[in-house]
Amino acid sequence: MPKRKAARSRLRKGVRSVKLQIEHASAAVLVLEGLLCVVILGKIFAARGGRAPFIRRIPGLAALDESVGRATEMGRPMLFSLGLGGLDIVTLQALAVLGHVARLAARYATRVIVPVVDAVIFPVTEEVLRDAYTAEGRPELFDSNDVRFLSDQQFAYASGVMGIIGREQVASSFLFGSFFAESLILAEAGHQVGAMQVAGTPSTTQIPFFIAACDYTIIGEEYYAASAYLTREPVFLGSLIGQDWGKIALLAIIILMVGAASVWSLTHGGVMDDFQSRVIAFWQWMPGAPAAGQ
């Protein structure tokens, strides 16, 4: 077998994706994360005193107002699902969007039903809704029964939400948070009653289902841009700019590593095992840790 073919054969067999096992920050991870944090925080504080940066239109977030208006015109309630997450940053971001929707709902006297899956976020959700109605000067419209703890089990929650959608004939459905296999169940249930559906999730495996079944889907970093888009607060806008710079930094590192891998491949006949082990050793090196093999 020619040398190049043998090298390519070794390449296919020997090089595989390896998950780095990092329980504590290695030096490289520390530097990279520190750099990202400095960039994000720097942009946050810079945005406080400067001009508001431009954010492109995100159709899914722009559709939130339209969805609330639709429910108001039809005289039917809305449903807002926070997903299956606990009190984590994904759910907190969903709560931020809920706060915005709830304020619109209070303004237009439209009911919003919020089924929750985690008992820990149940009181937080109630407070968000109550505060939204109070902020709009309509505390009397808040109904604590509209925040319902259904179950902490995935398909029991999905069944409960399907039941609420079917019985209440919701006009708009908002699905924001961490979703798993029940995502399409919720989305299809909303479609069956003719609801306008807006979904947003960082769960990449569920994005295709939401795209297929919902009217608008917010994917990837757009989910975390929701706060900035809806509120236009300098802190959020600066954070968004910092995130974009962070992505540029990561892109630069990727291009650098791709170039390095390409040069190595050309100079070592396509044999990448040594390159891969050197890269892994670099990323996993910690000061004071014993060298590999010791």
Binding site: I40, A135, A156, L184, A187, P202, S239, K247, A289
Partner: protein, 271 residues
């Protein structure tokens, strides 16, 4: 019979509960809104700082006032406290579960008392909950309750969950039927890729290109190879790109929450 260990355990639980309530009431009395907010900011920062230090300090790092880690090759001085703090979080979650149960009982109780439409479903909820709680708590002591628990969990709950999950098969079909419309070039491209990937999953699809040789350059045109290339090269690149954005977005939001820069009524600052 109440043993000394059981008595000590329950005593500690009751004392801890009472002390916790007393502390909360005291804090409520002596603090006003702004000092409460300041206290929350300090506690949030300290909590986040603990996890940050535990992650960034290399294994084997000792802090003078803390005991050395049991496994210095893996842990640092703060690592043993991770499980303790996790347990505290579980206790808080346990209290919250009572709130959820109260909410369920209130809503379904109101349905039954008001004889609203579907009140029999609410009655079924209470019956199921009571049976499950009793059989779950005492199944270790009574064989009949253990049998009842098995019937309820393995005979009822698990098949019900599987049934709801199985509805997905039909929902995927209907959603795909609605979504896969060739209205543009990109849609046609997506439809083609979806067709290849789907056909590569079934033997009938693989039969379409079975006639191609298994070795050589022509083997790359077999439908399972094309499908594998689409999933591992094109699709994986897009997924990873999305994951980068999500990761950095999560980092930014975590920073804002940790440093109390987040806006929103539940963070004590109006947006």
């Amino acid at each position: 019979m109440l043993t000394t260990d059981t008595f000590t355990l329950w005593r500690n639980i009751v004392l801890g509960f009472v002390a916790g309530i007393a502390l909360l009431l005291l804090l409520d009395r002596i603090t006003n809104n702004s000092s409460r907010r300041r206290l929350m900011v300090i506690l949030t920062f300290l909590g986040g700082l603990f996890y940050l230090l535990e992650f960034v300090l290399p294994p084997g790092t000792t802090l003078g006032f803390l005991p050395a880690p049991a496994d210095p090759t893996r842990d640092n001085a703060l690592s043993p406290f991770i499980s303790t703090i996790g347990s505290i979080t579980l206790v808080i979650a346990g209290f919250s579960f009572g709130l959820g149960l109260l909410n369920l009982a209130t809503i379904h109780g109101r349905n039954i008392l008001g004889q609203r439409s579907g009140w029999h479903n609410s009655l079924a909820f209470f019956v199921a909950m009571i049976l499950m709680v009793i059989s779950g708590l005492f199944r270790g002591e009574y064989a009949s309750l253990a049998a009842l628990y098995r019937v309820l969990f393995e005979g009822l709950y698990q098949p019900l969950g599987a049934s709801v999950f199985s509805v997905l098969a039909f929902f995927i079909t209907t959603a795909a039927y609605r979504a896969f419309r060739i209205r543009s070039g990109e849609a046609a491209l997506m439809m083609g890729a979806a067709f290849i990937v789907m056909m590569a999953q079934v033997p009938m699809g693989m039969m379409l290109t079975n006639w191609l040789p298994e070795t050589g350059w022509a083997a790359n045109l077999r439908i399972e190879q094309v499908s594998n290339w689409l999933m591992t090269i094109l699709n994986m690149a897009a997924l990873r790109a999305v994951a980068f954005g999500i990761g950095i977005g999560g980092l930014a939001m975590s920073l804002r929450i940790w440093l109390s820069l987040e806006r929103g009524t539940y963070f004590g600052k109006d947006s």
